[in-house]
Protein backbone atom coordinates (compact mmCIF):
# COMPACT_ATOMS: atom_id res chain seq x y z
CA UNK A 1 0.00 0.00 0.00
CA UNK A 2 2.76 2.41 0.97
CA UNK A 3 5.27 3.25 -1.68
CA UNK A 4 8.76 4.69 -1.60
CA UNK A 5 11.04 2.89 -4.03
CA UNK A 6 14.11 5.06 -3.65
CA UNK A 7 14.19 4.92 0.11
CA UNK A 8 13.55 1.18 0.25
CA UNK A 9 16.39 0.37 -2.16
CA UNK A 10 18.67 2.58 -0.09
CA UNK A 11 17.55 0.87 3.11
CA UNK A 12 17.96 -2.63 1.67
CA UNK A 13 21.58 -1.97 0.68
CA UNK A 14 22.45 -0.41 4.02
CA UNK A 15 20.95 -3.36 5.86
CA UNK A 16 22.73 -5.98 3.71
CA UNK A 17 26.10 -4.28 4.33
CA UNK A 18 25.51 -3.61 8.01
CA UNK A 19 24.27 -7.09 8.84
CA UNK A 20 27.23 -8.52 6.91
CA UNK A 21 29.60 -6.44 9.07
CA UNK A 22 27.69 -7.35 12.23
CA UNK A 23 27.93 -11.09 11.58
CA UNK A 24 31.63 -10.87 10.68
CA UNK A 25 32.29 -8.92 13.87
CA UNK A 26 30.28 -11.34 15.95
CA UNK A 27 32.08 -14.36 14.52
CA UNK A 28 35.47 -12.69 15.07
CA UNK A 29 34.67 -11.99 18.70
CA UNK A 30 33.30 -15.49 19.33
CA UNK A 31 36.15 -17.17 17.48
CA UNK A 32 38.94 -15.29 19.25
CA UNK A 33 37.22 -16.04 22.52
CA UNK A 34 37.08 -19.74 21.86
CA UNK A 35 40.56 -19.92 20.29
CA UNK A 36 42.06 -18.09 23.26
CA UNK A 37 40.38 -20.53 25.64
CA UNK A 38 41.85 -23.34 23.60
CA UNK A 39 45.36 -21.84 23.69
CA UNK A 40 45.19 -20.99 27.38
CA UNK A 41 44.00 -24.51 28.09
CA UNK A 42 47.10 -25.92 26.35
CA UNK A 43 49.49 -24.00 28.61
CA UNK A 44 47.38 -24.29 31.74
CA UNK A 45 49.18 -26.19 34.51
CA UNK A 46 52.29 -26.43 32.38
CA UNK A 47 55.71 -25.15 33.41
CA UNK A 48 58.59 -24.95 30.99
CA UNK A 49 62.07 -25.37 32.45
CA UNK A 50 65.16 -24.18 30.57
CA UNK A 51 68.45 -25.76 31.49
CA UNK A 52 71.20 -23.81 29.68
CA UNK A 53 74.46 -25.37 28.58
CA UNK A 54 77.18 -25.32 31.16
CA UNK A 55 79.58 -22.43 31.03
CA UNK A 56 83.14 -22.46 32.19
CA UNK A 57 82.52 -20.89 35.55
CA UNK A 58 79.84 -23.34 36.56
CA UNK A 59 80.55 -25.63 39.37
CA UNK A 60 78.83 -28.45 37.63
CA UNK A 61 80.30 -28.45 34.18
CA UNK A 62 78.81 -31.57 32.89
CA UNK A 63 75.63 -30.91 30.93
CA UNK A 64 74.23 -34.31 31.68
CA UNK A 65 74.76 -33.84 35.41
CA UNK A 66 73.04 -30.42 35.21
CA UNK A 67 70.00 -31.95 33.63
CA UNK A 68 70.09 -34.88 36.04
CA UNK A 69 70.31 -32.63 39.10
CA UNK A 70 67.40 -30.56 37.87
CA UNK A 71 65.33 -33.65 37.28
CA UNK A 72 66.22 -35.02 40.68
CA UNK A 73 64.90 -31.92 42.41
CA UNK A 74 61.78 -31.83 40.28
CA UNK A 75 60.96 -35.47 41.00
CA UNK A 76 60.95 -34.70 44.70
CA UNK A 77 58.30 -31.99 44.36
CA UNK A 78 54.71 -33.02 45.09
CA UNK A 79 52.14 -31.90 42.50
CA UNK A 80 54.12 -32.76 39.39
CA UNK A 81 52.41 -35.43 37.34
CA UNK A 82 54.59 -35.63 34.26
CA UNK A 83 57.95 -34.42 33.05
CA UNK A 84 58.69 -34.39 29.36
CA UNK A 85 62.27 -33.94 28.25
CA UNK A 86 62.84 -32.36 24.85
CA UNK A 87 65.94 -33.55 23.09
CA UNK A 88 68.00 -31.31 20.81
CA UNK A 89 66.10 -32.37 17.72
CA UNK A 90 62.70 -31.58 19.21
CA UNK A 91 63.86 -28.21 20.50
CA UNK A 92 65.18 -27.35 17.06
CA UNK A 93 61.85 -28.28 15.57
CA UNK A 94 60.01 -26.02 18.00
CA UNK A 95 62.19 -23.09 17.00
CA UNK A 96 62.34 -23.80 13.30
CA UNK A 97 59.15 -21.89 12.75
CA UNK A 98 60.69 -18.71 14.15
CA UNK A 99 64.37 -18.78 13.22
CA UNK A 100 66.25 -19.71 10.09
CA UNK A 101 68.35 -22.88 10.01
CA UNK A 102 71.68 -21.04 9.85
CA UNK A 103 70.78 -18.97 12.89
CA UNK A 104 69.81 -22.09 14.78
CA UNK A 105 73.12 -23.77 13.98
CA UNK A 106 75.12 -21.08 15.77
CA UNK A 107 72.80 -20.99 18.74
CA UNK A 108 73.72 -22.50 22.06
CA UNK A 109 70.39 -24.17 22.74
CA UNK A 110 69.19 -24.87 26.27
CA UNK A 111 67.59 -28.17 27.15
CA UNK A 112 63.85 -27.88 27.62
CA UNK A 113 61.64 -29.69 30.09
CA UNK A 114 57.90 -29.55 30.10
CA UNK A 115 56.24 -30.22 33.43
CA UNK A 116 52.58 -31.05 33.82
CA UNK A 117 51.10 -30.20 37.21
CA UNK A 118 48.10 -31.63 38.94
CA UNK A 119 48.44 -29.32 41.92
CA UNK A 120 49.54 -25.70 42.29
CA UNK A 121 53.28 -25.29 42.81
CA UNK A 122 55.12 -22.21 44.08
CA UNK A 123 57.08 -21.50 40.92
CA UNK A 124 59.48 -18.77 42.21
CA UNK A 125 60.42 -20.91 45.21
CA UNK A 126 61.02 -23.94 43.05
CA UNK A 127 63.15 -21.87 40.70
CA UNK A 128 65.26 -20.64 43.64
CA UNK A 129 65.62 -24.17 44.90
CA UNK A 130 66.90 -25.47 41.56
CA UNK A 131 69.08 -22.44 40.91
CA UNK A 132 70.89 -23.06 44.20
CA UNK A 133 72.10 -26.36 42.83
CA UNK A 134 72.12 -25.73 39.07
CA UNK A 135 72.79 -22.07 38.29
CA UNK A 136 71.18 -20.56 35.16
CA UNK A 137 68.05 -22.68 35.20
CA UNK A 138 64.85 -20.73 34.60
CA UNK A 139 61.19 -21.67 35.04
CA UNK A 140 58.31 -20.21 33.13
CA UNK A 141 54.66 -20.87 33.99
CA UNK A 142 53.45 -18.74 31.03
CA UNK A 143 51.43 -16.54 33.39
CA UNK A 144 52.55 -13.34 31.71
CA UNK A 145 51.61 -14.63 28.31
CA UNK A 146 48.28 -15.84 29.61
CA UNK A 147 47.51 -12.49 31.25
CA UNK A 148 48.43 -10.62 28.09
CA UNK A 149 46.38 -12.93 25.92
CA UNK A 150 43.38 -12.62 28.22
CA UNK A 151 43.74 -8.84 28.15
CA UNK A 152 43.96 -8.82 24.37
CA UNK A 153 40.89 -11.02 24.04
CA UNK A 154 38.87 -8.87 26.46
CA UNK A 155 39.89 -5.79 24.52
CA UNK A 156 38.94 -7.36 21.20
CA UNK A 157 35.62 -8.38 22.68
CA UNK A 158 34.94 -4.86 23.92
CA UNK A 159 35.88 -3.33 20.58
CA UNK A 160 33.63 -5.91 18.90
CA UNK A 161 30.63 -4.97 21.04
CA UNK A 162 31.21 -1.25 20.44
CA UNK A 163 31.36 -2.04 16.73
CA UNK A 164 28.11 -4.01 16.90
CA UNK A 165 26.49 -1.14 18.78
CA UNK A 166 27.56 1.33 16.09
CA UNK A 167 26.26 -0.96 13.36
CA UNK A 168 22.91 -1.19 15.13
CA UNK A 169 22.78 2.60 15.44
CA UNK A 170 23.44 3.00 11.69
CA UNK A 171 20.72 0.44 10.89
CA UNK A 172 18.13 1.97 13.16
CA UNK A 173 18.91 5.51 11.99
CA UNK A 174 18.46 4.39 8.38
CA UNK A 175 15.16 2.78 9.31
CA UNK A 176 13.95 5.96 11.04
CA UNK A 177 15.02 7.95 7.99
CA UNK A 178 13.10 5.61 5.68
CA UNK A 179 10.01 5.78 7.89
CA UNK A 180 10.10 9.60 7.84
CA UNK A 181 10.52 9.59 4.04
CA UNK A 182 7.77 7.01 3.57
CA UNK A 183 5.29 8.84 5.78
CA UNK A 184 5.91 12.12 4.01
CA UNK A 185 5.70 10.62 0.53
CA UNK A 186 2.49 8.72 1.35
CA UNK A 187 0.68 11.60 3.06
CA UNK A 188 -2.47 11.12 1.03
CA UNK A 189 -2.84 7.45 1.88
CA UNK A 190 -2.15 8.10 5.54
CA UNK A 191 -4.67 10.93 5.72
CA UNK A 192 -7.22 8.66 4.01
CA UNK A 193 -6.54 5.97 6.62
CA UNK A 194 -7.10 8.55 9.34
CA UNK A 195 -10.39 9.61 7.77
CA UNK A 196 -11.59 6.02 7.63
CA UNK A 197 -10.82 5.70 11.34
CA UNK A 198 -7.40 4.08 11.29
CA UNK A 199 -5.36 5.45 14.17
CA UNK A 200 -1.61 5.70 14.48
CA UNK A 201 -1.58 2.05 15.58
CA UNK A 202 -2.87 0.95 12.19
CA UNK A 203 -0.47 3.24 10.33
CA UNK A 204 2.31 1.85 12.52
CA UNK A 205 1.34 -1.66 11.55
CA UNK A 206 1.32 -1.04 7.80
CA UNK A 207 4.65 0.77 8.12
CA UNK A 208 6.03 -2.24 9.99
CA UNK A 209 4.88 -4.56 7.22
CA UNK A 210 6.38 -2.22 4.63
CA UNK A 211 9.77 -1.96 6.38
CA UNK A 212 9.77 -5.66 7.22
CA UNK A 213 9.38 -6.57 3.55
CA UNK A 214 12.56 -4.59 2.86
CA UNK A 215 14.71 -5.36 5.89
CA UNK A 216 14.00 -9.03 6.56
CA UNK A 217 15.25 -10.32 3.18
CA UNK A 218 18.14 -7.83 3.31
CA UNK A 219 19.17 -9.01 6.79
CA UNK A 220 18.93 -12.64 5.72
CA UNK A 221 21.00 -11.98 2.61
CA UNK A 222 23.63 -10.10 4.63
CA UNK A 223 23.88 -13.00 7.09
CA UNK A 224 24.21 -15.60 4.32
CA UNK A 225 26.93 -13.65 2.52
CA UNK A 226 28.77 -13.18 5.82
CA UNK A 227 28.64 -16.87 6.76
CA UNK A 228 29.80 -17.83 3.27
CA UNK A 229 32.67 -15.35 3.53
CA UNK A 230 33.64 -16.74 6.92
CA UNK A 231 33.78 -20.31 5.59
CA UNK A 232 35.91 -19.31 2.61
CA UNK A 233 38.21 -17.18 4.77
CA UNK A 234 38.49 -19.90 7.38
CA UNK A 235 39.45 -22.47 4.75
CA UNK A 236 42.11 -20.08 3.52
CA UNK A 237 43.43 -19.53 7.05
CA UNK A 238 43.48 -23.25 7.67
CA UNK A 239 45.56 -23.79 4.53
CA UNK A 240 47.99 -21.07 5.64
CA UNK A 241 48.29 -22.06 9.32
CA UNK A 242 47.18 -25.66 9.65
CA UNK A 243 48.57 -25.98 13.18
CA UNK A 244 46.80 -22.89 14.55
CA UNK A 245 43.45 -23.08 12.77
CA UNK A 246 41.45 -26.28 12.96
CA UNK A 247 39.96 -27.71 9.82
CA UNK A 248 36.38 -27.49 11.00
CA UNK A 249 34.75 -24.28 12.18
CA UNK A 250 32.24 -26.30 14.07
CA UNK A 251 33.38 -29.25 16.11
CA UNK A 252 31.56 -29.14 19.36
CA UNK A 253 33.70 -27.28 21.81
CA UNK A 254 37.10 -26.47 20.46
CA UNK A 255 36.06 -23.79 17.99
CA UNK A 256 32.54 -22.42 17.71
CA UNK A 257 29.99 -24.30 19.75
CA UNK A 258 26.33 -24.77 18.88
CA UNK A 259 25.35 -21.82 21.06
CA UNK A 260 27.72 -19.53 19.14
CA UNK A 261 26.21 -20.63 15.86
CA UNK A 262 22.69 -20.05 17.23
CA UNK A 263 23.74 -16.53 18.18
CA UNK A 264 25.13 -15.90 14.69
CA UNK A 265 22.07 -17.35 12.98
CA UNK A 266 19.73 -15.29 15.13
CA UNK A 267 21.40 -12.02 14.13
CA UNK A 268 18.79 -11.23 11.43
CA UNK A 269 15.98 -12.18 13.81
CA UNK A 270 17.25 -9.99 16.65
CA UNK A 271 17.80 -7.17 14.18
CA UNK A 272 14.28 -7.57 12.79
CA UNK A 273 12.76 -7.31 16.26
CA UNK A 274 14.79 -4.14 16.93
CA UNK A 275 13.69 -2.67 13.60
CA UNK A 276 10.00 -3.42 14.19
CA UNK A 277 10.10 -1.69 17.56
CA UNK A 278 11.92 1.27 15.99
CA UNK A 279 9.37 1.58 13.17
CA UNK A 280 6.47 1.51 15.60
CA UNK A 281 8.02 4.09 17.92
CA UNK A 282 8.98 6.45 15.10
CA UNK A 283 5.54 6.23 13.45
CA UNK A 284 3.78 6.94 16.73
CA UNK A 285 6.04 9.92 17.44
CA UNK A 286 5.77 11.27 13.87
CA UNK A 287 1.98 11.04 13.75
CA UNK A 288 1.57 12.54 17.19
CA UNK A 289 3.74 15.46 16.07
CA UNK A 290 1.66 16.19 12.94
Amino acid sequence: MLRNRGASIFLAWIIVCMIFLAVITLVTVLLTNSLSKQWIHVVDNVITVQVPEADLKSQINDNITRLGSTLKILRGIPGISKIKIFDKQETLKLLSGWLSESALKDLNLPRLLEIKLHKAVNVPRLEKQIKAVVPGVSLDDHSRWKTNLALLITMMGDVGWVFLGLILIVCLTSIIFTVVMTISSNKEIISLIHLIGGGSEFVGRICQVYILKVTAPAALLGTCIAILTIFVFHQHLHNLFPSLVTEKLFNGGTTLILWDWCLIASTPLIFTIFSLVTVRASVLILIRKN
Binding site: M1, R3, E188, I189, L192, I193, H194, L195, I196, G197, G198, G199, S200, F202, R288
Partner: protein, 219 residues
Protein backbone atom coordinates in the same frame (compact mmCIF):
# COMPACT_ATOMS: atom_id res chain seq x y z
CA UNK B 1 -26.99 11.86 15.72
CA UNK B 2 -25.73 15.11 14.15
CA UNK B 3 -26.56 18.60 15.40
CA UNK B 4 -25.29 21.95 14.14
CA UNK B 5 -25.91 25.05 16.26
CA UNK B 6 -25.13 28.53 14.90
CA UNK B 7 -22.23 27.11 12.93
CA UNK B 8 -20.05 29.37 10.82
CA UNK B 9 -17.17 28.25 8.64
CA UNK B 10 -14.56 30.25 6.84
CA UNK B 11 -11.32 29.14 5.27
CA UNK B 12 -8.29 31.22 6.23
CA UNK B 13 -8.71 34.99 5.77
CA UNK B 14 -11.88 34.75 3.78
CA UNK B 15 -15.45 35.67 4.37
CA UNK B 16 -17.58 32.86 5.80
CA UNK B 17 -18.75 30.32 3.22
CA UNK B 18 -21.39 29.03 5.61
CA UNK B 19 -22.97 30.96 8.43
CA UNK B 20 -25.76 30.57 10.90
CA UNK B 21 -26.19 26.86 10.16
CA UNK B 22 -28.72 25.13 12.40
CA UNK B 23 -30.07 21.65 11.82
CA UNK B 24 -30.37 18.26 13.36
CA UNK B 25 -30.19 14.81 11.82
CA UNK B 26 -32.23 12.43 13.91
CA UNK B 27 -31.32 8.75 14.13
CA UNK B 28 -32.53 6.56 11.31
CA UNK B 29 -32.97 9.28 8.72
CA UNK B 30 -32.11 9.93 5.10
CA UNK B 31 -31.25 13.44 3.87
CA UNK B 32 -30.23 15.08 0.68
CA UNK B 33 -27.80 17.97 0.87
CA UNK B 34 -28.34 20.26 -2.10
CA UNK B 35 -26.83 23.47 -3.38
CA UNK B 36 -25.02 24.98 -6.33
CA UNK B 37 -21.40 24.14 -7.06
CA UNK B 38 -19.27 25.96 -4.52
CA UNK B 39 -22.19 26.41 -2.13
CA UNK B 40 -20.37 24.54 0.64
CA UNK B 41 -21.82 21.03 0.55
CA UNK B 42 -18.44 19.32 0.81
CA UNK B 43 -17.42 21.70 3.58
CA UNK B 44 -20.52 20.84 5.59
CA UNK B 45 -19.81 17.11 5.17
CA UNK B 46 -16.16 17.67 6.18
CA UNK B 47 -17.38 19.00 9.50
CA UNK B 48 -19.48 15.89 9.92
CA UNK B 49 -16.47 13.63 9.42
CA UNK B 50 -14.28 15.77 11.64
CA UNK B 51 -11.95 17.02 8.93
CA UNK B 52 -12.98 20.63 9.35
CA UNK B 53 -13.66 22.51 12.57
CA UNK B 54 -16.34 25.20 12.66
CA UNK B 55 -15.02 28.72 13.17
CA UNK B 56 -18.04 29.53 15.29
CA UNK B 57 -20.86 27.58 16.83
CA UNK B 58 -21.09 24.03 17.96
CA UNK B 59 -21.25 20.68 16.18
CA UNK B 60 -22.41 17.57 18.02
CA UNK B 61 -21.77 14.13 16.61
CA UNK B 62 -23.18 10.96 18.15
CA UNK B 63 -24.22 13.10 21.11
CA UNK B 64 -20.81 14.67 21.74
CA UNK B 65 -19.34 18.09 21.05
CA UNK B 66 -16.60 17.57 18.46
CA UNK B 67 -14.46 20.29 20.01
CA UNK B 68 -11.64 18.95 22.17
CA UNK B 69 -12.01 15.30 21.21
CA UNK B 70 -8.94 13.22 21.84
CA UNK B 71 -7.13 11.60 18.93
CA UNK B 72 -8.43 8.10 19.69
CA UNK B 73 -11.97 9.46 20.18
CA UNK B 74 -11.82 11.02 16.72
CA UNK B 75 -10.65 7.65 15.31
CA UNK B 76 -13.43 5.81 17.10
CA UNK B 77 -16.07 8.23 15.81
CA UNK B 78 -14.77 8.01 12.26
CA UNK B 79 -14.97 4.24 12.43
CA UNK B 80 -18.75 4.70 12.68
CA UNK B 81 -18.85 6.94 9.60
CA UNK B 82 -18.66 5.85 5.99
CA UNK B 83 -17.48 8.51 3.55
CA UNK B 84 -17.82 8.62 -0.22
CA UNK B 85 -15.37 11.34 -1.20
CA UNK B 86 -16.18 13.57 -4.12
CA UNK B 87 -12.73 12.80 -5.56
CA UNK B 88 -12.98 9.08 -4.64
CA UNK B 89 -9.52 8.93 -2.98
CA UNK B 90 -8.79 5.37 -4.02
CA UNK B 91 -5.30 4.05 -3.34
CA UNK B 92 -3.65 3.70 -6.73
CA UNK B 93 -1.15 0.94 -6.07
CA UNK B 94 -3.47 -1.69 -4.63
CA UNK B 95 -6.27 -3.62 -6.31
CA UNK B 96 -9.87 -2.54 -5.88
CA UNK B 97 -10.42 -5.63 -3.72
CA UNK B 98 -7.78 -4.29 -1.31
CA UNK B 99 -9.19 -0.75 -1.54
CA UNK B 100 -12.61 -1.95 -0.49
CA UNK B 101 -11.14 -4.20 2.20
CA UNK B 102 -9.29 -1.31 3.86
CA UNK B 103 -12.01 -0.31 6.38
CA UNK B 104 -12.44 -3.95 7.41
CA UNK B 105 -8.70 -4.24 7.97
CA UNK B 106 -8.76 -1.09 10.07
CA UNK B 107 -11.55 -2.67 12.09
CA UNK B 108 -9.40 -5.74 12.50
CA UNK B 109 -11.87 -8.03 10.74
CA UNK B 110 -10.89 -11.64 10.13
CA UNK B 111 -9.39 -12.51 6.77
CA UNK B 112 -12.21 -15.02 6.26
CA UNK B 113 -14.84 -12.27 6.61
CA UNK B 114 -12.91 -9.95 4.28
CA UNK B 115 -12.62 -12.66 1.63
CA UNK B 116 -16.36 -13.26 1.68
CA UNK B 117 -17.76 -9.72 2.01
CA UNK B 118 -15.58 -7.76 -0.40
CA UNK B 119 -16.34 -9.74 -3.59
CA UNK B 120 -20.01 -9.86 -2.61
CA UNK B 121 -20.30 -6.10 -2.37
CA UNK B 122 -18.18 -5.45 -5.46
CA UNK B 123 -20.46 -7.82 -7.30
CA UNK B 124 -23.43 -5.82 -6.10
CA UNK B 125 -22.05 -2.58 -7.52
CA UNK B 126 -21.33 -4.37 -10.79
CA UNK B 127 -17.58 -4.77 -10.43
CA UNK B 128 -17.46 -8.46 -9.57
CA UNK B 129 -15.18 -9.14 -12.53
CA UNK B 130 -12.66 -6.48 -11.59
CA UNK B 131 -11.50 -7.65 -8.15
CA UNK B 132 -7.83 -7.58 -9.03
CA UNK B 133 -7.96 -4.50 -11.25
CA UNK B 134 -6.14 -1.36 -10.16
CA UNK B 135 -8.10 1.90 -9.84
CA UNK B 136 -6.28 3.59 -12.71
CA UNK B 137 -7.67 0.98 -15.10
CA UNK B 138 -11.28 1.84 -14.23
CA UNK B 139 -13.58 4.52 -15.67
CA UNK B 140 -14.69 7.45 -13.51
CA UNK B 141 -18.06 5.82 -12.81
CA UNK B 142 -16.45 2.51 -11.91
CA UNK B 143 -14.04 4.24 -9.55
CA UNK B 144 -16.98 5.97 -7.94
CA UNK B 145 -18.67 2.63 -7.32
CA UNK B 146 -15.47 1.32 -5.71
CA UNK B 147 -15.49 4.40 -3.46
CA UNK B 148 -19.11 3.68 -2.51
CA UNK B 149 -18.36 0.02 -1.80
CA UNK B 150 -15.47 1.07 0.45
CA UNK B 151 -17.70 3.52 2.32
CA UNK B 152 -20.43 1.01 3.06
CA UNK B 153 -18.49 -2.24 3.55
CA UNK B 154 -18.12 -1.81 7.30
CA UNK B 155 -21.81 -1.01 7.83
CA UNK B 156 -21.34 2.52 9.19
CA UNK B 157 -24.01 4.11 11.34
CA UNK B 158 -23.62 7.36 9.41
CA UNK B 159 -23.00 7.41 5.67
CA UNK B 160 -21.83 10.69 4.14
CA UNK B 161 -21.86 10.54 0.35
CA UNK B 162 -20.45 13.52 -1.55
CA UNK B 163 -21.84 13.48 -5.11
CA UNK B 164 -21.97 9.67 -5.20
CA UNK B 165 -23.79 9.66 -8.51
CA UNK B 166 -21.85 12.43 -10.20
CA UNK B 167 -20.11 10.17 -12.69
CA UNK B 168 -22.72 7.51 -13.47
CA UNK B 169 -25.73 7.39 -15.76
CA UNK B 170 -29.26 7.78 -14.40
CA UNK B 171 -29.96 4.08 -14.31
CA UNK B 172 -26.87 3.30 -12.29
CA UNK B 173 -27.51 6.33 -10.08
CA UNK B 174 -30.88 4.88 -9.24
CA UNK B 175 -29.35 1.50 -8.48
CA UNK B 176 -26.81 3.10 -6.13
CA UNK B 177 -29.62 4.99 -4.42
CA UNK B 178 -31.34 1.65 -3.81
CA UNK B 179 -28.14 0.47 -2.11
CA UNK B 180 -28.22 3.52 0.15
CA UNK B 181 -31.90 2.90 0.88
CA UNK B 182 -31.17 -0.67 1.79
CA UNK B 183 -28.48 0.47 4.22
CA UNK B 184 -30.89 3.04 5.57
CA UNK B 185 -33.46 0.34 6.24
CA UNK B 186 -30.77 -1.65 8.04
CA UNK B 187 -30.21 1.30 10.38
CA UNK B 188 -27.66 3.56 8.68
CA UNK B 189 -28.21 7.33 8.65
CA UNK B 190 -27.57 8.60 5.16
CA UNK B 191 -26.65 12.06 3.91
CA UNK B 192 -26.27 12.39 0.15
CA UNK B 193 -24.83 15.65 -1.18
CA UNK B 194 -25.87 16.21 -4.76
CA UNK B 195 -26.88 18.81 -7.28
CA UNK B 196 -28.81 16.26 -9.31
CA UNK B 197 -32.36 17.63 -9.13
CA UNK B 198 -33.81 14.50 -10.76
CA UNK B 199 -32.45 12.34 -8.01
CA UNK B 200 -33.90 14.63 -5.33
CA UNK B 201 -37.27 14.58 -7.07
CA UNK B 202 -37.32 10.82 -7.66
CA UNK B 203 -36.62 9.95 -4.06
CA UNK B 204 -38.80 11.53 -1.51
CA UNK B 205 -36.44 12.45 1.31
CA UNK B 206 -35.92 15.68 3.25
CA UNK B 207 -33.50 18.13 1.62
CA UNK B 208 -31.02 20.41 3.36
CA UNK B 209 -30.57 23.21 0.86
CA UNK B 210 -27.60 25.54 1.00
CA UNK B 211 -28.32 28.92 -0.54
CA UNK B 212 -25.89 31.82 -0.22
CA UNK B 213 -24.14 30.28 2.73
CA UNK B 214 -27.30 29.59 4.68
CA UNK B 215 -29.34 26.48 5.13
CA UNK B 216 -32.92 26.16 4.01
CA UNK B 217 -34.60 22.93 4.97
CA UNK B 218 -37.21 21.56 2.61
CA UNK B 219 -39.01 18.74 4.26
Amino acid sequence: MVRFQDVEVCYIDQKPILSNINFEIKPNSFHFLAGKSGAGKSSLLKMMYLALAPTKGRVDLFGRDIKGLKRFEVSNMRKRIGIVFQDFRLIENISIRENVALPLRIFGAQEKVIRRHVPELLDWVGLGDHLETFPAALSGGEQQRVAIARAVIARPSLLLADEPTGNVDDKLAERLMYLFEELHRAGTNVVVATHNENLINDFNYPVLHIVDGSLISKL
